[in-house]
């Protein structure tokens, strides 16, 4: 089903009728939502609502049972993970997953969008362009002073930033962040909000987050998920006032 909505407007991401079922359990059930270019969308919802699964489906980690995910006109459900990355989708995982054995510089360098084939990686040279790109991103993610440190030595918050940096250096059109401030200290949270504001100037961002204040700070629009479906969608005020949302998620 290609709904009328996707015909009328150019969305960067159009998810329509998306369903995935694990042994009969529908983790995501006939889900549809649309992202405008440069929009910041936050997905909230109780545990088990299927938020992370939605990101998994978009980035190809999980294959959809039915439905379509159109990104920039391309159907993502048929592509392999690395092809989805090449078409411009970056994904940050919930727990920081950086390469602990490599330095911060090398982490960013590995993510630099050049030399992704086997032969390309063999022939890859660390030229000035790469060094410049790495240093630029390192500054954005507050890690300029740690470039030559192994990533294993970074704090939890710094690892989260590094992983965001690894996405930024890929220059994706869509960034998907799964709980970027979970486990962060108050100062780290503020810095991350600042970082996201910088990022959202020229990226479309899809974020999963529980911290309602943080959500209010960054979101253009909020999608509330419950039991694999969209429960409510709109501005943060609209969503907060929605009795259904208060019932299942926010509490009275």
């Amino acid at each position: 089903m290609s709904g009328p909505k996707s015909m009328t407007k150019d969305f960067l991401l159009a998810v329509e009728g998306l369903t995935v079922s694990f042994d009969g359990f529908k983790a995501v059930d006939d889900l549809s939502f649309y992202l405008d270019p440069k929009e910041i969308r936050v997905i909230i919802g109780p545990n088990g609502a299927g938020k992370t699964t939605v990101l998994d489906l978009i980035c190809g980690k999980t294959k959809a049972t039915t439905g379509s995910i159109k990104f920039d006109g391309k159907e993502l459900t048929k592509l392999k993970e690395h092809q989805i990355v090449h078409s411009g989708v970056g994904r940050k995982f919930q727990t920081p997953s950086v390469f602990e054995d490599l330095t911060v510089f090398e982490n960013l360098e590995v993510s630099y969008p050049k030399g992704h084939s086997v032969m390309g990686a063999l022939a890859f040279k660390r030229d000035q362009e790469v060094i410049d790109a790495v240093e630029e991103v390192a500054e954005t993610i507050f890690l300029t002073d740690s470039l030559n440190e192994p990533a294993a030595l970074l704090s939890h918050g710094q690892k989260q930033w590094l992983e965001i940096g690894m996405l930024l250096i890929q220059k994706p059109d869509l960034l998907m962040l799964d709980e970027p401030v979970a486990g962060m200290s108050v100062t780290e949270r503020q810095k991350t909000a600042e970082l996201l504001r910088v990022i959202t100037r020229d990226h479309t961002v899809l974020v999963i987050e529980h911290d309602m204040q943080f959500v209010g700070d960054i979101a253009d629009r909020v999608t509330v998920m419950h039991q694999g479906k969209v429960l409510s969608e709109g501005s943060i005020e609209h969503v907060k006032a929605d009795p259904k949302v208060i019932e299942v998620y926010l509490g009275h």
């Binding site: 950086v98 090398e106 084939s117 990686a121 294993a152 690894m166």
Partner: protein, 399 residues
């Protein structure tokens, strides 16, 4: 510029390690050992080819193969087939009922050379096959396993099964393969008698030369971005995948690389030892190869060479005095490595000898360093320590 930077490499710590190994293999051992013992060392070194491949495949990329003997054997059999055909001229085999085919075929009532033996009349084809056949098989296995995301223990078991299958196949098809005896009675290589002390001596040096070629290839891969991706893949496969890499392609590449190294080692084995048999390629042989790599230090390319040498020296020493005890000693050695020093000899060297070296080195280094922009120097200084840090940042609970 180019030559000055390579000069710098030779006086770097890593360069000195390579020079040290070269001095040991090219100068010291040939001077102190008699031709028989030197030939033995040559044989041990052929296992080092496999161990270096395992460092890349298992140590770096985390793909444990318990079937490297398969690739070693395929390389070895390719070479043995060429040598056997050369030894089976119609004149030399005139007493057979079908002259001109290998003797074991005649004993098995085979009357014509099988088709797959034909191309091994050509030496250049044989050289290609020594690398090509193992790589082709590794490619097929890799394609079947890695694109389906089969890994870890499952992959190890499957490779071990393949080692068993190949052994059974070779033993069962006696008429085509020489069966359990293998391919024996090899005499000349393009008319050059390989059984003389002189030829064996020369073969030893060719083997050392090839080994260094393999070592430098491994080092090149390790220090390229591909090398970093292998290490990254080992720890965070999904992150690599979602950074835009086709993980399966990289796994297939490193598995084929290890197979190519093993194939070259196998061919050198045939040339040095003078025959090839299924006992060198089966499950036990394949597991021993993993032990060489583990003992040397599975993250260290040079460590693998020392591991292969030392375990084999210990093996022949032990077997000469207490043959029945060797399997127990070997088992104890492996348990010891895993429990007490999981980074092998290279890890021990790194924690106990290197700190001493560093003191001497730092003093020299500070007087040599010149030029370059500050950020340049920072990055290249980091590079110098790459070899060390590979061992340094390893933590045993992974894989």
């Amino acid at each position: 510029m180019k030559s000055s930077s390579s000069m710098k490499w030779f006086v770097s710590r890593e360069g000195l390690y390579y020079l040290g190994l070269a001095a040991l293999l090219v100068v010291i051992l040939p001077l102190v050992l008699d031709p028989f013992r030197l030939n033995m060392v040559g044989k041990y070194l052929t296992y080092a080819f496999v161990a270096v491949g395992l460092v890349m495949c298992w140590g770096k990329a985390g793909i444990l193969s318990l079937g490297q003997g398969v690739f070693f054997g395929l390389g070895g059999y390719c070479m043995a087939m060429f040598l056997k055909l050369e030894a089976s001229t119609p004149e030399a085999t005139a007493i057979q009922s079908t002259p001109g085919i290998p003797d074991f075929m005649d004993w098995n009532q085979i009357t014509a050379l099988p088709w797959f033996w034909e191309p091994f009349h050509s030496f250049s084809f044989t050289l290609l096959a020594v690398i090509g056949v193992p790589v082709l098989l590794a490619f097929i296995i890799g394609l079947a396993m890695f694109t389906r995301r089969v890994g870890g223990v499952y992959f190890a078991i499957i490779t071990q099964a393949i080692a068993a299958i190949l052994t059974i196949l070779i033993i069962g098809q006696q008429g085509y393969t020489g069966g359990v005896n293998g391919i024996t009675n090899l005499q000349t290589l393009m008319g050059w008698d390989i059984r003389t002390d002189e030829a064996r001596n020369t073969m030893y040096f060719i083997c050392v030369g090839m080994l260094f070629l393999v070592l430098f290839t491994a080092r090149l891969v390790q220090n390229s971005k591909l090398g970093r991706i292998l290490v990254a893949m080992n720890a965070q496969e999904n992150r690599v995948r979602f950074s835009g890499y086709n993980v399966a392609a990289f796994k297939i590449f490193v598995f084929c690389l290890a197979a190519a190294f093993a194939g070259i080692g196998g061919a050198m084995f045939t040339l040095i030892v003078g025959f090839m048999s299924p006992s060198f390629i089966g499950i036990v042989a394949s597991i021993e190869m993993v032990i060489f790599c583990a003992l040397g230090g599975r993250l260290s390319i040079l460590g693998a060479v020392y591991g292969a040498l030392l375990v084999n020296v210990a093996k022949s020493g032990f077997s000469e005095s207490f043959p029945e005890l060797w399997p127990f000693a070997m088992g104890a050695l492996f348990i010891g490595v895993v429990l007490a020093f999981p980074n092998g000899l290279a890890g021990l060297y790194q924690s106990y000898v290197m700190p001493l070296e560093s003191r001497v080195f730092k003093r020299n280094r500070s007087t040599v360093k010149t030029g370059g922009t500050p950020s340049d120097a920072k990055l290249s200084a980091d590079k110098d320590d790459d070899y060390d840090s590979m061992i340094d940042t390893y933590s045993p609970e992974k894989s």
